[in-house]
């Protein structure tokens, strides 16, 4: 057990040291002043709004697929195949599709693209969540609540919450990380779009501040989701 713990500690250190280094680089008020300008707040808001809208659309789609009582294996196969499609390829295809539909450079196209990229993860975790709901709960819910929505919110959602939160967590990360997809489909300047030029000009301190903001965003949004699903 000791050897196992040592090996895991080495691995975790390999993951954590770069992050600590990044936090260390952000201990400079001047860099924060340079980053926190009005255009930054606009980008921050755009990033959050985009992620939330894409999660909403993707999660609704995932719930629709799972609740349609389709074959489980088929749903999993769809999720795996969609996950195999790299975001850049998706951006190429969607760019062509949306331009031909007259939706080129639209916010809707961007939200749809982000939800498609995160869809496999949302679908996978929604399937996991549904498996957590025992069959007798489905029967009990049908006996107690007439409306399907009431059944979903009062019976299924509390049981599915951990899996849904995990899916949303991955979805948020996927959405925050998109660079090519966002650039190719719209003019929206998200935090990632703002971050990349700093890396190219080797301004690592500003890049580190952006990195830290990324990291802070995820738990905040996750806590909000958890709270929202609980109520």
């Amino acid at each position: 057990m000791k050897a196992a713990r040592i090996w895991l500690a080495i691995l975790v250190a390999g993951f954590a040291v770069p992050l600590l280094l990044m936090v260390w680089e952000t201990f400079d008020v001047r860099v924060w002043r340079r980053v926190l300008r009005p255009e930054f707040w606009q980008s921050w808001l755009d990033t959050l709004m985009l992620a939330v809208a894409a999660i909403g659309l993707g999660q609704a789609l995932a719930l629709a697929v799972v609740w349609n009582k389709g074959p489980l294996r088929l749903s999993l196969a769809i999720a795996a195949l969609a996950a195999l499609l790299p975001p850049f390829m998706l951006a190429l295809g969607l760019g062509w599709l949306f331009i031909n539909l007259g939706l080129g450079n639209s916010y809707f196209a961007l939200v749809a693209a982000h939800s498609l990229v995160m869809f496999p993860y949302l679908l996978f975790f929604t399937l996991l969540g549904r498996q957590r709901v025992p069959e007798n709960v489905f029967h009990l819910a049908k006996l107690n609540a007439a409306r399907p929505l009431a059944r979903f919110f009062n019976f299924y959602l509390p049981l599915m919450r951990p899996a849904l939160v995990a899916g949303i967590f991955i979805g948020l990360t996927v959405s925050f990380g998109q660079y090519a997809l966002t650039l190719m489909l719209s003019n929206t300047v998200t935090l990632t779009v703002r971050l990349v030029p700093f890396l190219q000009s080797a301004d690592f301190r500003q890049a580190a501040v952006y990195g830290l903001i990324f990291l802070i965003n995820v738990p905040i949004l996750l806590a909000c989701t958890h709270k929202l699903l609980k109520t």
């Binding site: 090996w7 993951f15 280094l21 790299p86 975001p87 660079y179 090519a180 990632t192 890396l199 990291l215």
Partner: protein
Amino acid sequence: MSFANGPEIILASRDWLPGLGYGLGTALVTTVGALLLCLTALLALLRLRVGRGRDLKIWMLLLQIPVAIPYALAAVLMFLLLYPGGPLGFLFPLTLNTAWRMIIAYLYKVSAFLILVSYPTLLRTKDDELDLLALQNKATLPFFRYVLLPRLAPALLTGCCIVFAYVFAAYEIPFILGGRQPKMPALVVAETMDKLTPGSMQAAYLMGLILLAVIAAICLAAWSIWRYFDRRRA
């Protein structure tokens, strides 16, 4: 959509074929490296589970750190780590070969993803199997090799295919960390698209389709190999 003179543009491109080979090599090395890291982590987690270590959940939580990090941020971390003055700055001469820079950045992200994908199978190991394993000293490795690995194979295969597809056709990390020559295939596609010459758009779409075909062929080959060995084992 017609591909007009797309094939001619692709054949005339000096970057396309070297880029394809470079992308394949980078993606394969990354996938194999991530798989090895994932397997060693799973073996360590299994040993903790056999010994009923109470810290299993904490380790698993810590191993998930990179999953929360976007790819662009992984590039930031690699810059901070590998550039002169960073803790691993002595590796800088090695990372002048940009493929290694990208591979390290990808390994950081995707090995955690593979662990996340395969961990539920490890958790499903039955208690009586673990009790038997605890009684037989030094039996963890054979159990991992002959019992757990065949169970883990479908999840690991899916995870590896996703990792390969992502790395092979990724844009963000090569754009930030990649060098000028050779270029990863997605960069060649984007540059062809940006040329705005007649047929360049069609050539870019055709290149995209070729990338997808390569991904499908490699994944299919990996699946066929796994099926062959799985049947032989059965």
